[in-house]
């Protein structure tokens, strides 16, 4: 009976699924937009996903074997860096930005806070090569993988080619990242009419729709655009966001709108991790937003919220936590079977 219910709910709430045995490795939740990632150029397979997962957790990707992707993107915090405002990398060097949570990446078409990366496959090159992150080069990573005992066999199983290449290394990492789908929060079950918001959560949801969802648009909770939400520049970092990529003044201080799913666990907040608590963020939106030429129009009229209303919005934001995602063993450190 229980199994039937599970099967039924999968049939209802998933419009596409990549299933191996009893495991759903990737799926498109019902009523979600189509993914941006071009799967035809990198078709999913269990062996490639597993290889990507192993690479994600393997410090072999860093110069001195000390840092893996997971060092800055840990599952229990929705794949962001625990507690650090600015990410920490090799030799304890501190980066210049807060590591974003990694989730629902198949729906993104640009990556990084400023959109410097145009395709998921190319993302891993950035941390691998960054002197403050992993301090390595992809050519050297490939050389190390070739000389390892485990990888040549895994690459052969995954790609039918025993010669390890940069292309295959990056595609495997993408495959794992693509499986990080989160769509099973309380919010989702309310939308599926399987559960109800409390009165407070419901009030928060209304206030959120009125004040926040033009940028943090459902169901991804981001419009995937670059917006200036009015944060004053941190003069120790002088990070002007999107302008660095386009060299266009109109893009000054614009950052990629982050998703708010699992926001309960992905603190600290903003591109430089300047806020520790959600209450700080709400106080900021009502009284900290700074006017500038590129400030997004939605914020030109001040957001007004009473302190009770702020508490309600936070209560709603907490319904975006997806425990199944945070503790899904398919995403955790791969233990040998």
């Amino acid at each position: 009976m229980k199994k039937a219910v599970v099967l039924f709910s999968i049939a209802c709430f998933v419009s596409f699924a990549f299933v191996i045995g009893t495991q759903t490795l990737f799926y498109i939740p019902k009523n979600w937009p189509a993914p941006q990632y071009n799967f035809s150029k990198n078709p999913l397979s269990e062996a490639k996903i597993e290889l990507g997962r192993k690479l994600f957790y393997d410090p072999i990707l860093s110069r001195n074997g000390s840092i893996s992707c997971a060092s800055c993107h840990s599952q229990y915090t929705a794949f962001t860096h625990v507690d650090h405002a600015l990410s920490h990398g090799i030799d304890d060097r501190v980066g210049t930005r807060n590591s974003p949570a990694l989730m629902n990446l198949a729906w993104h078409n640009t990556f990084m806070w400023d959109g410097a990366i145009n395709q998921l496959d190319m993302q891993a090159l950035a941390p691998i090569s960054h002197p403050d992150e992993m301090g390595e080069s992809i050519a050297n990573v490939v050389a190390k993988l070739k000389h390892s005992t485990a990888y040549p066999k895994l690459f052969f199983t995954a790609f039918n080619d025993s010669i390890i290449t940069g292309e295959h290394t990056l595609k495997a990492i993408s495959q794992f990242l693509l499986t990080l789908v989160t769509a099973n929060s309380k919010y989702d079950s309310v939308m599926r009419k399987l559960s109800y918001f409390t009165v407070q959560q419901n009030s928060g949801y209304r206030l959120f729709q009125k004040n926040c969802s033009s940028c943090h648009i459902e169901p991804l909770f981001t419009n995937l655009q670059f917006e200036n939400n009015g944060l004053p520049v941190d003069t120790t970092l002088n990070d002007f966001g999107r302008m660095k990529v386009t060299l266009n003044k109109n893009d000054s201080l614009k950052f990629k709108v982050p998703s708010l799913r699992n926001i309960e666990f992905s603190y600290p907040y903003m591109h430089d991790g300047r806020f520790k608590r959600l209450s700080d963020v709400l106080n900021y939106y009502t009284s900290g937003v700074q006017y500038s030429n590129t400030l997004s129009p939605q914020l030109k009229n001040k957001i007004k919220l009473t302190s009770n209303e702020k508490v309600d919005i936070i209560a709603f934001l907490l319904t975006l936590t997806d425990k199944e995602f945070l503790f899904n063993t398919n995403f955790s450190f791969p233990r040998t079977k």
Binding site: A116, I117, N118, H130, T165, E167
Partner: protein
């Protein structure tokens, strides 16, 4: 008499074999790196620059060419599928491109792109000459480097007198892709001279010694880089 017949037949067979071998000789494009009148080799060699005793050393010179086409009087008569080649002056092998499929076409013009087009730039991880391990892909901002020229000159006011020009960018307004069109004589071997002397002398090395991302300068220099190519 019989023997003579066999002999003639043999000669005939040999001749037609030769003819066959000749038509099967592959068409190739061969690049000849030069600095003015000297042959260009990476490292060590000094080439003189202008008339003031200034000099230059080249350490890296590599670039992509793509979308090779042969034309006869402006009509495309042959084009290469999946046409992407990394030409690296330090790698002798890369200086010859075989295009066997073109052997039986009649042409008088070759055209190709200097660089990688925008579609490939947004298509994710690629293999072969486009593999990111080739060191021609920017890591912190997506996109291929179309052309890399690095070396030293006493004119550069930089650390160790180094200069580094990494030209690339596929997005408006910094699209650096260039089309190169050259008249060629129909031949099994298309010899293309790569002379970087004028190109380098057009840059004021005392003012400019680095381009490392897509910008206006990268576009200007890419346009000038078309002049590197000529036919012997």
């Amino acid at each position: 008499m019989k023997l003579r017949c066999v002999f003639i037949l043999l000669i005939f067979a040999f001749k037609s074999f030769l003819a066959l071998a000749q038509t099967e000789q592959k068409t190739s494009i061969v690049f000849h790196p030069m600095f003015g009148n000297s042959i260009l080799t990476p490292n060590n060699l000094f080439y003189s620059l202008g008339n003031n005793g200034d000099s230059i050393q080249i350490e890296t010179f590599k670039f992509y060419i793509s979308a090779i086409e042969l034309l006869k009087d402006d009509k495309i008569v042959w084009k290469e599928e999946n046409s992407f080649h990394l030409i690296n002056v330090a790698d002798e092998k890369s200086l010859t491109i075989f295009i066997p499929g073109a052997s039986n076409t009649v042409y008088n013009t070759i055209s190709f792109n200097l660089g990688i087009d925008s579609l490939i730039n947004v298509s994710g991880a690629m293999g072969g000459d486009l593999d990111p391990t080739k060191g021609m892909y920017w890591t912190w901002q997506s996109g291929y480097v179309n052309l890399k020229l690095e070396g030293r000159s006493n004119l550069c006011k930089s650390r160790n007198n180094e200069f580094q020009f990494h030209l690339g960018g596929y997005q408006y307004p910094f699209n650096t892709l260039q089309k190169v069109i050259l008249k060629v004589e129909e031949n099994k071997k298309i010899d293309i001279v790569l002379d970087i002397k004028n190109f380098i002398e057009s840059i004021d090395l005392s003012q400019q010694n680095q381009i490392m991302s897509p910008n206006k300068q990268a576009v200007l220099l890419s346009e000038k880089a078309v002049g590197i190519f000529s036919v012997k």
